[in-house]
């Protein structure tokens, strides 16, 4: 993978702790994402996922290290990097249209009212909220609010989307629908997406790459799991794919046991070249050498045969 659209290079985050000591949330973290890639981060609460996302967004600054987006080190927030907040963060005094229009008029300050409105309306239609433009957030269901959040993020046509557990507060049905929509929109617009999730199936459905983080404090990025599922996967027949269970089991094993023990068991872990895990048979993928990350192979298992 030569195209590093986003490259996080050796960032760390420390907070002054009690009695002069410092708490290190994570340290020397490296990861990269290609243009148009959908990446999910999975890890237990408190391992620093939100902190990484906030640093990527420019809302927070790393204690050390840099983030390079499109060849430029970032400093602060940018209209190129849209954030979808976990708690939707809609402005309650503005209508649906007003919330989206606020983002649009922030990006294109010279546009007149009509143009802003028309542009905002396009994105409200895109997320299926046509007819609710003039409702206030308090009149919307949780799913609709998050749709507005998505419309607001997309309306500024960002280069990448950052999502912090965007669907965790929603019921399963709404979550499914919104996952479909986010996936469709990201594929259609070629968005690069970075999403934090707690939901393993959500990660499997959406992600091209899954980042697994160990427990904090002192969390590390343990593995990058390549999603073996085809790009045109469907949410309903996901589990029929021969590699689905192998992938799922690998992630769950990591969350249940290895996320705690990884740091102690892997003293030679090199944060600069995190192992890339390919689920499936080694012969199916061409392994590269040199400064490329180490490769690891997990055999695909038939769920009917494994215990």
């Amino acid at each position: 993978m030569t195209d590093k659209f986003i490259s996080i290079e050796g960032i760390s985050k420390r907070y002054p702790g009690a009695s002069g000591a410092t708490t290190t949330v994570f340290e020397n973290l490296w990861l990269s994402m290609a243009r148009g890639e959908f990446c999910c981060v999975i890890g237990h609460s408190g391992c620093g996922k939100t902190t990484v996302l906030n640093i990527l967004a420019g809302l927070d600054a790393p204690s050390e290290g840099v983030v390079i987006v499109d060849g430029q080190a970032i400093s602060g927030t940018s209209l190129d990097r849209a954030v979808i907040f976990q708690s939707h963060a809609l402005l309650p005094w503005r209508t649906v249209l007003g919330n989206v229009a606020y983002a649009v008029s922030s990006k294109w300050r010279k546009w007149d009212r009509a143009k802003v409105k028309a542009h905002a309306q396009t994105f409200i239609d895109l997320v299926g909220l046509t007819g609710s433009e003039h409702k206030r957030p308090s009149e919307l269901s949780g799913g609709m609010k998050q749709r507005v959040g998505i419309a607001r993020a997309l309306s500024i046509t960002p280069k990448m989307m950052l999502m912090d557990e965007p669907f965790s507060a929603l019921d399963a049905l709404t979550r499914g629908t919104l996952q479909d929509e986010v996936r469709r929109i990201c594929l259609e617009t070629g968005q690069t997406a970075f999403m934090i999730t707690h939901d393993v199936d959500e990660a499997i459905y959406l992600a091209d790459k899954i980042f697994l983080m160990t427990n904090g404090p002192g969390a590390v990025l343990a593995e990058v799991v390549e999603n073996p599922l085809p790009r045109d996967r469907g949410r309903t027949d996901l589990h029929r794919h021969p590699l689905y269970y192998a992938l799922r089991n690998h992630i769950i094993d990591f969350l249940v046991t290895r996320s705690k023990t990884f740091v102690a068991e892997t003293p030679d872990h090199d944060p600069r070249s995190v192992p890339v895990i390919h689920i499936g048979k080694p012969g199916l993928t061409i392994a590269s050498s040199g400064d490329e990350p180490r490769q690891a192979w997990i055999p695909g298992t038939n769920p009917g045969l494994s215990a």
């Binding site: 927030t77 940018s78 954030v83 907040f85 402005l91 606020y102």
Partner: protein, 280 residues
């Protein structure tokens, strides 16, 4: 039970309570006390209280009749000591309005600055802590001495008493705007000034308006006392003047009107507060 029936019943209870209060008041003031024999001249001096055993406290009917008289001619002006109640209330409302408006103009921008700057917030805190608990009337002599105009001094006293709740609520409202809303503005690269007007102001508005509502209540409490001190015009002066005239009826009417005007002022601010409050 539906809310309408609850309201209806509450209204009924209110009316019953009012009727009971007026009835007891009527009975209590009507009853004749013992009269003592006295010389006619002395009796004249003592008035009806002594001669006919009539209570010095006017009954609801006396007050009602007098109130009707006032309401029919609210704006008459027969010289400095005899003006219609409308005029007196007008003076008080104008003073409160001016002092209050000045306080709004100072407290809200200042509160914004303090709320947005942790440095200013810390630096000004000791001053605010000391100034806030000072009774507004304690400023009166200083105001009279420096300003040398009793009417402006009263306005100054209103200004100084209404500034604190507004200032503190603005600081608090501005400083406690939800971080996510600020982050929304930051990710959209909204400049400081635009952020202040499009995010912080609307987010802090309910808290600011609550402070303004507390302030108007205090200002209305204080104006009566201030006008008693400075004299001349206003409902506070009217109360004091009628006390000197021993017209308890007028004092009661003034008390009633002070209450009604205070309630109206409060309701206006309450309505504004509702207008800027949006549930999430």
């Amino acid at each position: 039970m539906t809310t309408t029936s609850l309201r209806l019943r509450a209204g009924l209870v209110s009316i019953v309570l009012l009727a009971a209060f007026l009835g007891i008041w009527h009975l209590a003031t009507r009853s004749a006390g013992p009269t003592t024999a006295m010389s006619p001249e002395y009796a004249k001096l003592m008035g009806l209280t002594a001669t006919q055993g009539k209570s010095a406290m006017p009954g609801p009917l006396d007050v009602g009749a007098k109130l009707w008289e006032h309401l029919r001619r609210p704006f008459y002006d027969n010289g400095p000591n005899d003006k219609g109640l409308g005029i007196q209330l007008g003076y008080s409302i104008a003073r409160v309005g001016m002092g209050y408006l000045l306080a709004v103009l100072v407290a809200i921008p200042l509160g914004f600055l303090i709320g947005m700057s942790p440095l200013l917030s810390k630096a000004l805190d000791p001053f605010i802590q000391v100034l806030k608990p000072i009774s507004p009337l304690a400023w009166m002599p200083l105001a009279l001495y420096t300003i040398k105009d009793s009417s402006i001094s009263a306005i100054f006293v209103i200004f100084i008493c209404s500034i604190w709740p507004m200032l503190l609520n603005t600081v608090f409202g501005v400083a406690s705007v939800r971080k996510e809303w600020i982050n929304v503005a930051r990710t959209l690269e909204v400049g400081t000034l635009r952020r202040a007007f499009t995010v912080i102001l609307p987010a802090a508005a309910p808290t600011i308006l609550t402070g303004m509502r507390i302030s108007i209540g205090i200002a209305w409490l204080v104006i009566v006392a201030a006008e008693m001190l400075v004299g001349g015009t206003g409902i506070g002066y009217f109360v004091w003047n009628e006390w000197n005239n021993l017209s308890i009826t007028n004092v009661i009417i003034a008390i009633l009107l002070i209450g009604v005007v205070g309630m109206l002022l409060d309701q206006i601010l309450a309505r504004f507060t509702r207008m800027v409050t949006f549930p999430e």
